[in-house]
Protein backbone atom coordinates (compact mmCIF):
# COMPACT_ATOMS: atom_id res chain seq x y z
CA UNK A 1 0.00 0.00 0.00
CA UNK A 2 2.73 2.41 0.99
CA UNK A 3 4.63 1.50 -2.16
CA UNK A 4 1.63 2.32 -4.32
CA UNK A 5 1.24 5.70 -2.67
CA UNK A 6 4.84 6.52 -3.44
CA UNK A 7 4.35 5.40 -7.01
CA UNK A 8 1.53 7.87 -7.71
CA UNK A 9 3.50 11.09 -7.15
CA UNK A 10 6.44 9.56 -8.98
CA UNK A 11 4.26 8.92 -12.01
CA UNK A 12 2.78 12.40 -11.85
CA UNK A 13 6.26 13.85 -11.66
CA UNK A 14 7.54 11.97 -14.66
CA UNK A 15 4.47 13.03 -16.66
CA UNK A 16 5.07 16.62 -15.65
CA UNK A 17 8.69 16.31 -16.60
CA UNK A 18 7.71 15.27 -20.09
CA UNK A 19 5.15 18.01 -20.50
CA UNK A 20 7.09 20.99 -19.11
CA UNK A 21 10.03 22.65 -20.74
CA UNK A 22 12.54 24.52 -18.58
CA UNK A 23 14.42 27.30 -20.33
CA UNK A 24 17.83 27.42 -18.68
CA UNK A 25 20.66 29.93 -18.44
CA UNK A 26 23.97 30.19 -16.61
CA UNK A 27 23.53 30.73 -12.82
CA UNK A 28 25.20 34.16 -13.15
CA UNK A 29 22.62 35.35 -15.71
CA UNK A 30 20.18 37.70 -13.97
CA UNK A 31 18.17 38.76 -17.05
CA UNK A 32 14.39 38.48 -16.84
CA UNK A 33 13.03 36.51 -19.81
CA UNK A 34 9.50 36.32 -21.17
CA UNK A 35 8.33 33.74 -23.68
CA UNK A 36 8.50 36.47 -26.33
CA UNK A 37 12.16 37.22 -25.47
CA UNK A 38 12.96 33.52 -25.75
CA UNK A 39 11.11 33.32 -29.07
CA UNK A 40 13.17 36.26 -30.40
CA UNK A 41 16.48 34.74 -29.28
CA UNK A 42 15.72 31.30 -30.71
CA UNK A 43 14.52 32.71 -34.03
CA UNK A 44 17.60 34.94 -34.42
CA UNK A 45 15.58 38.16 -34.13
CA UNK A 46 17.31 39.14 -30.89
CA UNK A 47 21.01 38.63 -30.36
CA UNK A 48 21.17 39.66 -26.72
CA UNK A 49 19.37 39.21 -23.40
CA UNK A 50 17.05 41.90 -22.05
CA UNK A 51 20.01 43.32 -20.07
CA UNK A 52 21.97 43.84 -23.29
CA UNK A 53 24.45 40.99 -22.85
CA UNK A 54 25.08 38.74 -25.87
CA UNK A 55 22.96 35.58 -26.02
CA UNK A 56 24.11 32.27 -27.49
CA UNK A 57 21.13 29.94 -27.90
CA UNK A 58 21.73 26.18 -27.97
CA UNK A 59 19.07 23.95 -29.44
CA UNK A 60 18.31 20.26 -29.07
CA UNK A 61 18.41 17.89 -32.03
CA UNK A 62 15.02 16.96 -33.48
CA UNK A 63 15.48 13.40 -32.28
CA UNK A 64 15.08 14.56 -28.65
CA UNK A 65 11.38 14.58 -27.70
CA UNK A 66 11.44 17.88 -25.78
CA UNK A 67 12.52 19.74 -28.94
CA UNK A 68 9.06 19.45 -30.49
CA UNK A 69 7.51 20.65 -27.20
CA UNK A 70 9.83 23.65 -27.14
CA UNK A 71 9.17 24.55 -30.79
CA UNK A 72 5.44 24.42 -30.13
CA UNK A 73 5.35 26.13 -26.70
CA UNK A 74 8.10 28.74 -27.03
CA UNK A 75 8.05 29.43 -30.75
CA UNK A 76 4.46 28.50 -31.63
CA UNK A 77 5.49 26.44 -34.61
CA UNK A 78 6.07 22.82 -35.54
CA UNK A 79 9.61 21.57 -36.02
CA UNK A 80 8.96 21.39 -39.79
CA UNK A 81 7.83 25.01 -39.84
CA UNK A 82 10.96 25.98 -37.90
CA UNK A 83 13.09 24.16 -40.44
CA UNK A 84 11.36 26.02 -43.27
CA UNK A 85 11.87 29.29 -41.35
CA UNK A 86 15.59 28.68 -40.95
CA UNK A 87 16.10 27.49 -44.51
CA UNK A 88 14.84 30.91 -45.62
CA UNK A 89 17.56 32.60 -43.57
CA UNK A 90 20.39 30.11 -44.03
CA UNK A 91 20.17 30.04 -47.81
CA UNK A 92 20.09 33.81 -48.04
CA UNK A 93 23.02 34.55 -45.78
CA UNK A 94 20.68 36.32 -43.36
CA UNK A 95 21.01 34.07 -40.36
CA UNK A 96 22.35 30.91 -38.81
CA UNK A 97 20.20 28.61 -36.68
CA UNK A 98 21.23 27.91 -33.08
CA UNK A 99 23.75 25.11 -32.65
CA UNK A 100 22.04 21.76 -32.07
CA UNK A 101 23.21 19.40 -29.36
CA UNK A 102 22.42 15.70 -29.27
CA UNK A 103 21.16 15.32 -25.69
CA UNK A 104 19.75 17.20 -22.72
CA UNK A 105 22.96 16.42 -20.80
CA UNK A 106 25.01 18.21 -23.46
CA UNK A 107 22.70 21.24 -23.20
CA UNK A 108 23.06 21.25 -19.41
CA UNK A 109 26.86 21.08 -19.71
CA UNK A 110 26.99 23.80 -22.37
CA UNK A 111 24.79 26.17 -20.35
CA UNK A 112 26.61 25.48 -17.06
CA UNK A 113 29.93 26.39 -18.72
CA UNK A 114 28.95 29.48 -20.71
CA UNK A 115 27.54 32.67 -19.09
CA UNK A 116 26.07 33.73 -22.48
CA UNK A 117 24.32 30.44 -23.22
CA UNK A 118 20.59 29.83 -23.18
CA UNK A 119 19.05 26.40 -23.71
CA UNK A 120 16.19 24.23 -22.60
CA UNK A 121 15.59 20.77 -21.18
CA UNK A 122 12.57 18.94 -19.79
CA UNK A 123 11.84 20.23 -16.26
CA UNK A 124 12.78 16.92 -14.65
CA UNK A 125 16.28 17.05 -16.08
CA UNK A 126 17.24 20.40 -14.51
CA UNK A 127 20.30 20.28 -12.23
CA UNK A 128 21.78 22.77 -9.77
CA UNK A 129 24.49 23.83 -12.20
CA UNK A 130 22.04 25.89 -14.29
CA UNK A 131 19.32 28.42 -13.55
CA UNK A 132 15.75 28.06 -14.78
CA UNK A 133 14.79 31.34 -16.47
CA UNK A 134 11.24 30.32 -17.37
CA UNK A 135 9.16 27.15 -17.34
CA UNK A 136 6.86 26.64 -20.31
CA UNK A 137 3.77 24.57 -19.54
Amino acid sequence: MLKKLILIPALTLSFMAFANVAVIVHPSNAAALSQDDINKIFTGRAKSFTDGKAAEPVNLAEAVAVRADFDQKALGRSSSQMKAYWSKLVFTGKGTPPKELASEQEVLDAVAKNPAAIGYVSSGAVTGSVKVALTLN
Binding site: K83, S87, F91, G93, K94
Partner: protein, 377 residues
Protein backbone atom coordinates in the same frame (compact mmCIF):
# COMPACT_ATOMS: atom_id res chain seq x y z
CA UNK B 1 36.28 20.15 -68.27
CA UNK B 2 38.39 23.20 -67.50
CA UNK B 3 35.31 24.70 -65.90
CA UNK B 4 34.99 21.72 -63.60
CA UNK B 5 38.66 21.89 -62.64
CA UNK B 6 38.38 25.56 -61.89
CA UNK B 7 35.32 24.87 -59.82
CA UNK B 8 37.09 22.16 -57.86
CA UNK B 9 40.03 24.48 -57.27
CA UNK B 10 37.74 27.27 -56.15
CA UNK B 11 35.96 24.99 -53.72
CA UNK B 12 39.30 23.74 -52.43
CA UNK B 13 40.46 27.33 -52.01
CA UNK B 14 37.30 28.34 -50.19
CA UNK B 15 37.54 25.35 -47.91
CA UNK B 16 41.28 25.25 -47.22
CA UNK B 17 41.67 29.04 -47.03
CA UNK B 18 39.35 28.93 -44.10
CA UNK B 19 40.89 25.98 -42.35
CA UNK B 20 40.88 27.77 -39.00
CA UNK B 21 37.34 28.95 -39.34
CA UNK B 22 34.00 27.33 -38.66
CA UNK B 23 32.52 25.99 -41.86
CA UNK B 24 28.84 25.26 -42.30
CA UNK B 25 27.75 23.18 -45.23
CA UNK B 26 24.06 23.15 -46.03
CA UNK B 27 22.19 22.00 -49.04
CA UNK B 28 18.81 21.77 -50.65
CA UNK B 29 17.35 19.80 -53.48
CA UNK B 30 14.11 19.48 -55.40
CA UNK B 31 13.40 16.36 -57.34
CA UNK B 32 10.32 16.99 -59.44
CA UNK B 33 8.59 15.26 -62.26
CA UNK B 34 5.82 16.72 -64.34
CA UNK B 35 4.05 16.83 -67.65
CA UNK B 36 1.51 18.80 -69.65
CA UNK B 37 -1.90 17.19 -69.68
CA UNK B 38 -2.51 17.17 -73.42
CA UNK B 39 -0.34 16.82 -76.50
CA UNK B 40 -1.03 20.44 -77.51
CA UNK B 41 -0.17 21.87 -74.12
CA UNK B 42 3.15 23.26 -73.07
CA UNK B 43 3.89 25.28 -69.96
CA UNK B 44 6.91 26.11 -67.79
CA UNK B 45 9.11 23.91 -69.98
CA UNK B 46 6.86 20.83 -69.84
CA UNK B 47 5.27 19.05 -72.77
CA UNK B 48 3.25 15.85 -72.76
CA UNK B 49 6.33 13.72 -72.06
CA UNK B 50 6.89 13.17 -68.36
CA UNK B 51 10.10 15.00 -67.38
CA UNK B 52 12.14 14.65 -64.23
CA UNK B 53 14.72 17.12 -65.44
CA UNK B 54 12.84 20.31 -66.15
CA UNK B 55 12.38 21.68 -62.62
CA UNK B 56 14.72 19.52 -60.55
CA UNK B 57 17.72 21.11 -58.90
CA UNK B 58 20.32 20.52 -56.22
CA UNK B 59 22.55 22.97 -54.37
CA UNK B 60 25.30 23.06 -51.81
CA UNK B 61 26.06 26.09 -49.74
CA UNK B 62 29.33 26.59 -47.96
CA UNK B 63 29.54 29.30 -45.36
CA UNK B 64 32.76 30.01 -43.59
CA UNK B 65 32.82 32.18 -40.51
CA UNK B 66 36.19 33.91 -40.55
CA UNK B 67 35.68 35.43 -37.13
CA UNK B 68 35.53 39.11 -36.23
CA UNK B 69 32.09 39.38 -37.84
CA UNK B 70 33.32 38.43 -41.31
CA UNK B 71 31.97 35.46 -43.23
CA UNK B 72 31.96 34.21 -46.80
CA UNK B 73 29.13 32.27 -48.43
CA UNK B 74 29.13 30.43 -51.74
CA UNK B 75 26.19 28.61 -53.19
CA UNK B 76 26.70 26.08 -55.98
CA UNK B 77 23.57 25.15 -57.81
CA UNK B 78 22.84 22.76 -60.64
CA UNK B 79 19.54 22.67 -62.51
CA UNK B 80 18.24 19.68 -64.41
CA UNK B 81 17.10 22.07 -67.14
CA UNK B 82 20.76 23.12 -67.64
CA UNK B 83 21.90 19.47 -67.80
CA UNK B 84 22.91 19.77 -64.14
CA UNK B 85 25.76 22.08 -64.99
CA UNK B 86 26.86 23.51 -61.66
CA UNK B 87 27.14 27.28 -61.34
CA UNK B 88 27.87 29.72 -58.58
CA UNK B 89 24.39 31.00 -57.91
CA UNK B 90 25.76 33.27 -55.22
CA UNK B 91 29.16 34.11 -53.81
CA UNK B 92 29.39 36.90 -51.30
CA UNK B 93 31.09 38.05 -48.19
CA UNK B 94 29.20 39.37 -45.20
CA UNK B 95 30.38 41.76 -42.59
CA UNK B 96 28.34 42.54 -39.49
CA UNK B 97 28.73 46.25 -38.79
CA UNK B 98 26.55 45.83 -35.71
CA UNK B 99 24.15 43.18 -34.40
CA UNK B 100 21.47 44.77 -36.59
CA UNK B 101 23.39 45.89 -39.64
CA UNK B 102 25.08 43.63 -42.17
CA UNK B 103 26.86 44.36 -45.44
CA UNK B 104 26.87 41.68 -48.14
CA UNK B 105 29.02 42.10 -51.24
CA UNK B 106 29.48 39.90 -54.27
CA UNK B 107 26.96 38.00 -56.35
CA UNK B 108 23.63 38.44 -54.60
CA UNK B 109 19.97 37.72 -55.11
CA UNK B 110 18.06 40.83 -56.21
CA UNK B 111 15.26 41.48 -53.71
CA UNK B 112 12.46 41.95 -56.26
CA UNK B 113 9.98 39.63 -54.57
CA UNK B 114 9.04 38.25 -51.20
CA UNK B 115 10.41 34.85 -52.18
CA UNK B 116 13.34 36.09 -54.33
CA UNK B 117 15.95 35.09 -51.81
CA UNK B 118 14.82 31.50 -51.51
CA UNK B 119 12.78 30.79 -54.62
CA UNK B 120 15.07 27.82 -55.34
CA UNK B 121 14.58 26.42 -51.82
CA UNK B 122 11.23 24.75 -52.36
CA UNK B 123 11.20 23.42 -48.80
CA UNK B 124 10.78 27.00 -47.54
CA UNK B 125 7.30 27.44 -49.09
CA UNK B 126 4.19 25.40 -49.78
CA UNK B 127 3.86 25.68 -53.57
CA UNK B 128 5.64 23.48 -56.11
CA UNK B 129 6.97 26.65 -57.74
CA UNK B 130 6.75 30.36 -57.06
CA UNK B 131 3.93 32.00 -59.10
CA UNK B 132 5.43 32.36 -62.57
CA UNK B 133 3.17 35.23 -63.65
CA UNK B 134 4.84 37.40 -61.05
CA UNK B 135 8.31 35.82 -60.72
CA UNK B 136 8.99 36.20 -64.42
CA UNK B 137 11.65 38.84 -65.02
CA UNK B 138 14.00 36.10 -66.18
CA UNK B 139 16.90 37.09 -63.96
CA UNK B 140 17.44 36.86 -60.24
CA UNK B 141 20.98 37.84 -59.31
CA UNK B 142 23.16 40.91 -59.43
CA UNK B 143 26.77 41.70 -58.73
CA UNK B 144 26.86 44.36 -56.10
CA UNK B 145 26.47 45.14 -52.45
CA UNK B 146 23.59 45.27 -50.05
CA UNK B 147 23.03 46.72 -46.63
CA UNK B 148 20.65 44.69 -44.50
CA UNK B 149 19.15 46.20 -41.37
CA UNK B 150 16.92 44.40 -38.89
CA UNK B 151 15.23 45.97 -35.91
CA UNK B 152 12.03 46.13 -33.91
CA UNK B 153 9.70 49.07 -34.39
CA UNK B 154 7.23 48.88 -31.52
CA UNK B 155 5.70 45.43 -31.89
CA UNK B 156 6.87 45.04 -35.48
CA UNK B 157 9.96 43.27 -36.75
CA UNK B 158 11.44 45.37 -39.51
CA UNK B 159 13.97 44.28 -42.11
CA UNK B 160 15.20 46.89 -44.50
CA UNK B 161 17.54 46.18 -47.39
CA UNK B 162 19.33 48.61 -49.67
CA UNK B 163 21.04 47.23 -52.73
CA UNK B 164 23.27 48.57 -55.50
CA UNK B 165 24.85 46.70 -58.38
CA UNK B 166 24.59 45.61 -61.96
CA UNK B 167 23.49 42.61 -63.98
CA UNK B 168 25.01 41.12 -67.11
CA UNK B 169 23.39 38.01 -68.52
CA UNK B 170 20.14 36.65 -69.90
CA UNK B 171 16.75 38.24 -69.29
CA UNK B 172 13.26 37.46 -70.51
CA UNK B 173 11.81 39.52 -73.33
CA UNK B 174 8.32 38.18 -73.87
CA UNK B 175 8.81 34.46 -74.23
CA UNK B 176 12.32 34.92 -75.72
CA UNK B 177 15.65 35.40 -73.97
CA UNK B 178 17.80 38.46 -74.62
CA UNK B 179 21.38 39.29 -73.78
CA UNK B 180 20.86 41.92 -71.11
CA UNK B 181 22.86 44.47 -69.20
CA UNK B 182 21.29 46.38 -66.39
CA UNK B 183 23.52 49.05 -64.95
CA UNK B 184 23.24 51.31 -61.92
CA UNK B 185 20.68 49.15 -60.16
CA UNK B 186 19.59 50.85 -56.97
CA UNK B 187 16.85 49.48 -54.80
CA UNK B 188 15.19 49.18 -51.47
CA UNK B 189 13.08 46.41 -49.96
CA UNK B 190 11.30 46.68 -46.64
CA UNK B 191 9.42 44.03 -44.74
CA UNK B 192 7.42 44.57 -41.57
CA UNK B 193 6.07 41.66 -39.60
CA UNK B 194 4.13 41.03 -36.44
CA UNK B 195 2.67 37.85 -35.03
CA UNK B 196 1.83 36.05 -38.25
CA UNK B 197 1.19 39.15 -40.35
CA UNK B 198 3.75 40.67 -42.65
CA UNK B 199 3.84 43.40 -45.24
CA UNK B 200 6.52 44.02 -47.83
CA UNK B 201 7.41 46.57 -50.46
CA UNK B 202 10.25 46.84 -52.93
CA UNK B 203 11.32 49.46 -55.43
CA UNK B 204 14.29 49.22 -57.78
CA UNK B 205 15.53 51.27 -60.68
CA UNK B 206 18.26 50.74 -63.25
CA UNK B 207 19.44 51.40 -66.80
CA UNK B 208 18.57 48.55 -69.14
CA UNK B 209 20.25 47.51 -72.39
CA UNK B 210 19.02 44.43 -74.27
CA UNK B 211 20.79 43.05 -77.30
CA UNK B 212 18.71 41.01 -79.72
CA UNK B 213 20.54 39.94 -82.90
CA UNK B 214 17.64 40.32 -85.35
CA UNK B 215 17.04 43.85 -84.11
CA UNK B 216 20.38 45.29 -83.11
CA UNK B 217 22.80 43.82 -85.65
CA UNK B 218 23.99 46.02 -88.56
CA UNK B 219 21.42 44.29 -90.79
CA UNK B 220 18.74 44.20 -88.11
CA UNK B 221 15.41 46.00 -87.91
CA UNK B 222 16.74 49.19 -86.30
CA UNK B 223 19.42 49.64 -88.99
CA UNK B 224 16.77 49.12 -91.67
CA UNK B 225 14.47 51.68 -90.05
CA UNK B 226 17.31 54.20 -89.90
CA UNK B 227 18.03 53.57 -93.60
CA UNK B 228 14.37 54.47 -94.30
CA UNK B 229 14.89 57.74 -92.45
CA UNK B 230 13.01 56.41 -89.42
CA UNK B 231 15.85 56.68 -86.93
CA UNK B 232 13.51 58.33 -84.43
CA UNK B 233 11.17 55.33 -84.53
CA UNK B 234 14.13 52.99 -84.07
CA UNK B 235 15.15 55.03 -81.02
CA UNK B 236 11.69 54.68 -79.55
CA UNK B 237 11.90 50.92 -79.90
CA UNK B 238 15.47 50.00 -79.09
CA UNK B 239 16.58 49.11 -75.59
CA UNK B 240 19.76 51.03 -75.01
CA UNK B 241 20.48 52.44 -71.58
CA UNK B 242 16.76 52.90 -70.87
CA UNK B 243 15.40 53.99 -67.50
CA UNK B 244 13.70 51.00 -65.92
CA UNK B 245 11.75 50.52 -62.73
CA UNK B 246 10.31 47.70 -60.68
CA UNK B 247 7.77 48.13 -57.90
CA UNK B 248 6.25 45.41 -55.77
CA UNK B 249 4.01 45.19 -52.72
CA UNK B 250 2.94 42.07 -50.91
CA UNK B 251 1.49 40.71 -47.73
CA UNK B 252 1.43 37.44 -45.89
CA UNK B 253 -0.90 36.18 -43.17
CA UNK B 254 -0.04 33.03 -41.25
CA UNK B 255 -2.63 32.73 -38.52
CA UNK B 256 -4.58 29.85 -36.98
CA UNK B 257 -3.15 27.50 -39.60
CA UNK B 258 -4.43 29.66 -42.47
CA UNK B 259 -1.74 30.88 -44.85
CA UNK B 260 -2.58 33.73 -47.22
CA UNK B 261 0.06 35.32 -49.49
CA UNK B 262 -0.28 37.94 -52.18
CA UNK B 263 2.05 40.10 -54.26
CA UNK B 264 1.46 42.75 -56.90
CA UNK B 265 4.29 43.93 -59.14
CA UNK B 266 4.79 46.44 -61.91
CA UNK B 267 7.83 46.59 -64.21
CA UNK B 268 8.65 49.17 -66.89
CA UNK B 269 11.41 49.87 -69.37
CA UNK B 270 10.86 53.40 -70.67
CA UNK B 271 11.40 54.43 -74.30
CA UNK B 272 11.57 50.85 -75.60
CA UNK B 273 9.23 48.34 -77.20
CA UNK B 274 9.08 46.31 -73.96
CA UNK B 275 5.51 46.17 -72.72
CA UNK B 276 4.55 47.51 -69.30
CA UNK B 277 4.19 44.48 -67.07
CA UNK B 278 1.64 44.18 -64.30
CA UNK B 279 1.20 40.97 -62.37
CA UNK B 280 -0.28 39.68 -59.18
CA UNK B 281 -1.15 36.48 -57.37
CA UNK B 282 -3.07 35.49 -54.30
CA UNK B 283 -2.72 32.15 -52.59
CA UNK B 284 -4.76 30.66 -49.74
CA UNK B 285 -3.81 27.50 -47.90
CA UNK B 286 -4.69 25.72 -44.69
CA UNK B 287 -2.37 23.66 -42.56
CA UNK B 288 -3.84 20.40 -41.26
CA UNK B 289 -0.91 19.27 -39.15
CA UNK B 290 1.49 17.87 -41.77
CA UNK B 291 -0.77 18.41 -44.79
CA UNK B 292 -1.24 21.83 -46.38
CA UNK B 293 -3.60 22.11 -49.35
CA UNK B 294 -3.76 25.45 -51.17
CA UNK B 295 -5.27 27.22 -54.15
CA UNK B 296 -3.85 30.24 -55.90
CA UNK B 297 -4.77 32.58 -58.69
CA UNK B 298 -2.22 34.44 -60.83
CA UNK B 299 -2.62 37.17 -63.40
CA UNK B 300 -0.07 38.51 -65.84
CA UNK B 301 -1.06 41.57 -67.86
CA UNK B 302 1.61 42.90 -70.23
CA UNK B 303 0.33 45.79 -72.33
CA UNK B 304 1.96 46.32 -75.73
CA UNK B 305 3.01 49.92 -76.39
CA UNK B 306 0.89 50.34 -79.51
CA UNK B 307 1.48 54.12 -79.41
CA UNK B 308 4.97 53.42 -80.80
CA UNK B 309 3.58 52.60 -84.26
CA UNK B 310 0.49 54.84 -84.08
CA UNK B 311 2.01 57.31 -86.56
CA UNK B 312 3.07 54.65 -89.09
CA UNK B 313 0.65 54.22 -92.03
CA UNK B 314 -0.62 50.64 -92.23
CA UNK B 315 0.29 50.57 -95.93
CA UNK B 316 3.94 51.23 -95.13
CA UNK B 317 6.24 48.23 -95.61
CA UNK B 318 7.66 48.75 -92.14
CA UNK B 319 4.26 48.66 -90.44
CA UNK B 320 4.05 44.89 -90.29
CA UNK B 321 7.49 44.20 -88.76
CA UNK B 322 7.24 47.10 -86.28
CA UNK B 323 3.66 46.41 -85.17
CA UNK B 324 4.38 42.69 -85.09
CA UNK B 325 7.33 43.16 -82.77
CA UNK B 326 5.54 45.59 -80.44
CA UNK B 327 2.38 43.47 -80.31
CA UNK B 328 4.35 40.29 -79.64
CA UNK B 329 4.90 41.53 -76.09
CA UNK B 330 1.19 41.83 -75.36
CA UNK B 331 0.23 39.07 -72.97
CA UNK B 332 -2.76 38.54 -70.75
CA UNK B 333 -2.76 35.27 -68.87
CA UNK B 334 -4.75 33.99 -65.91
CA UNK B 335 -3.56 30.90 -64.08
CA UNK B 336 -5.11 28.77 -61.39
CA UNK B 337 -3.08 26.42 -59.21
CA UNK B 338 -4.33 23.72 -56.86
CA UNK B 339 -1.83 21.79 -54.81
CA UNK B 340 -0.78 20.18 -51.58
CA UNK B 341 2.31 19.98 -49.41
CA UNK B 342 2.83 16.97 -47.18
CA UNK B 343 5.61 17.08 -44.56
CA UNK B 344 6.28 13.36 -44.52
CA UNK B 345 9.79 13.68 -43.07
CA UNK B 346 11.55 16.21 -40.78
CA UNK B 347 13.72 17.42 -43.68
CA UNK B 348 11.57 16.71 -46.70
CA UNK B 349 8.19 17.65 -48.09
CA UNK B 350 6.21 15.91 -50.80
CA UNK B 351 4.32 18.27 -53.08
CA UNK B 352 1.87 17.98 -55.94
CA UNK B 353 0.47 20.87 -57.96
CA UNK B 354 -1.92 21.27 -60.86
CA UNK B 355 -1.76 24.44 -62.94
CA UNK B 356 -4.11 25.67 -65.61
CA UNK B 357 -2.98 28.76 -67.52
CA UNK B 358 -5.49 30.60 -69.69
CA UNK B 359 -3.60 32.73 -72.20
CA UNK B 360 -6.18 35.23 -73.47
CA UNK B 361 -3.79 36.86 -75.93
CA UNK B 362 -2.76 33.64 -77.65
CA UNK B 363 -6.21 32.17 -77.04
CA UNK B 364 -4.93 28.92 -75.58
CA UNK B 365 -5.15 27.01 -72.34
CA UNK B 366 -2.35 24.87 -70.99
CA UNK B 367 -2.39 22.49 -68.04
CA UNK B 368 0.50 20.97 -66.22
CA UNK B 369 0.88 18.63 -63.25
CA UNK B 370 4.04 18.33 -61.17
CA UNK B 371 4.84 16.05 -58.23
CA UNK B 372 8.06 15.91 -56.27
CA UNK B 373 10.04 16.15 -53.09
CA UNK B 374 11.78 19.25 -51.71
CA UNK B 375 14.43 18.72 -49.10
CA UNK B 376 17.02 20.56 -47.07
CA UNK B 377 20.13 19.06 -45.54
Amino acid sequence: MLKRKLLALTIAAVVSGASHAAIDINGFASIKGGMALSSDDSLYGYDDNFSFKNESLAALQVKSDLGDKLSVTAQLLGRGADDWEVKFEWAFLSYDLTDNLRVNAGRLRTPFYKYSDFRDVGYAYDWSRVPQSVYGLGFDNIEGASLYHTTTLGNFDSSLQFIVGSYDGDAAIGSAIADAQIENITGVAWELGQDGYSFRMAYLIGKTTFYVGQLDSPTGLYAQLSAFGLGALAKKMDIVDESSSFAGVGFNIDKNDWVVVSEITKAKVEDSFISDQESYYISVGHRFDTITPYVSFEKEDNKAKTEIYAGVPTASPIFAPVAGLVNSLESERNSINVGVRYDFHPSAAFKAQYTNADNKTANRKDSVVVVGVDLVF
